[in-house]
């Protein structure tokens, strides 16, 4: 892909940030932001847990520069531009600052884009995933988080654009799959999910094959 503008210094920062330990690098697609900030859809709950998880690790990352943070969440430059455009349009037409504040909060939970590109927000995640994989090698697990309905088509297009097939070790999953996969291993996720349910007075949520229910009945054996 020739449209990518990679700054060696920025890449150096990324490789330095992963501290020579195995790190999970998440690259959320614009559709993940839509599930969280936009109209509620079937992925809203898991997206909320995902960004809560991102904020927890971002807060560790800022303050504890010397501590090895096993999780990094990067946003991509076109996604930043899309959200900023929405914020600016909203401000010009309605003098509304609420969207600006919400977007600013979400940005505070993620790391800034590592390099710029002019690709569409959907394609740019794969572009960045490929470049990061190339630079970080086995030190980083690259995980693309996308709630896109036509993710298969987006991958095909990305492969055509890059004249290459997507590396096998780049994982692509939606937020429901991500939550289902990590549910058993991560107590933070359980705590966050329960807190979100309490906060929103949700009695039941489902992601993948997992159903969480608030009940007064004792669990069945």
């Amino acid at each position: 892909m020739t449209t990518c503008d990679v700054d060696n210094h920025e890449i150096e920062q990324v490789t330095h940030n992963i501290h020579n330990c195995k790190t999970d690098i998440y690259i959320p697609c614009i559709t993940t932001y839509d599930s969280f900030l936009g109209k509620p859809n079937k992925f809203s709950f898991s997206s909320q847990v995902f960004f809560e998880f991102a904020s927890l690790h971002k807060s560790k990352g800022i303050e504890l520069k010397n501590r090895k943070d096993p999780v990094k969440v990067y946003r991509t430059s076109p996604i930043q531009e899309v959200l900023r455009n929405i914020v600016e349009t909203e401000y010009k037409t309605n003098k509304n600052n609420r969207i600006s504040d919400a977007v600013s909060l979400v940005f505070s939970a993620t790391d800034p884009p590592v390099f710029h590109s002019i690709m569409s927000p959907e394609l740019s995640i794969f572009e960045k995933a490929i470049v990061l994989k190339e630079y970080c090698g086995n030190l980083a697990n690259i995980i693309v988080i996308s709630n896109h309905e036509k993710i298969g088509e987006v991958i095909k297009k990305a492969e055509i654009e890059s004249h290459n097939s997507l590396p096998q070790d780049i994982q692509i999953m939606n937020t429901d799959e991500w939550l289902e996969k990590n549910w058993q291993q991560n107590n933070d996720l359980i705590r966050m999910a329960i807190n979100i349910m309490k906060k929103k007075s949700l009695q039941e949520v489902q992601f993948g094959n997992i159903i969480i229910k608030f009940t007064t009945e004792p669990p069945q054996k």
């Binding site: 969280f36 900030l37 899309v82 504040d101 505070s108 979100i196």
Partner: protein, 123 residues
């Protein structure tokens, strides 16, 4: 001649004072104009997240609702547009960062965000 000295001093002082007032007025109108320009630009608030355990004692003191015994939770530092003033808010562990986002947005805002994102998608 000496008798005229207080009068000269008074007049000089008055002129200086009026000069000062004029300068202040010009400066004020300039600022007003700049303020109007600022109003038409987007005023962006910046938020920075940090963990309670990572704050130093003086930072802890500036956070509302945070006691010395508190060991867990997140702190959101808010930088207001055009100001160096920082506002620090404590989010206990049973509270959530995403709940703050929820509080910001109403159904109309969410509709507009989705519309904007949809129009940016190519597939």
């Amino acid at each position: 001649m000496v008798y005229w000295l207080p009068i000269y001093t008074f007049l000089g002082g008055f002129l200086l004072r009026s000069d000062y007032t004029t300068a202040k007025f010009i400066r004020k109108t300039r600022f007003l104009k700049r303020g109007e320009q600022m109003n038409n630009k987007l005023a962006e608030t910046t938020f920075v997240l940090s963990r309670v355990e990572d704050l130093n004692p003086s930072e802890r003191e500036s956070v509302n609702g945070l006691t010395a015994e508190t060991k867990e939770g997140l702190v959101v530092t808010e930088f207001k547009p055009g100001s160096f003033v920082k506002i620090r808010k404590f989010i206990p562990t049973n509270n959530l960062f995403t709940a703050m986002v929820d509080e910001q947005l109403n159904a109309g805002d969410r509709e507009n965000i989705s519309k904007g994102i949809k129009s940016s998608l190519q597939f």
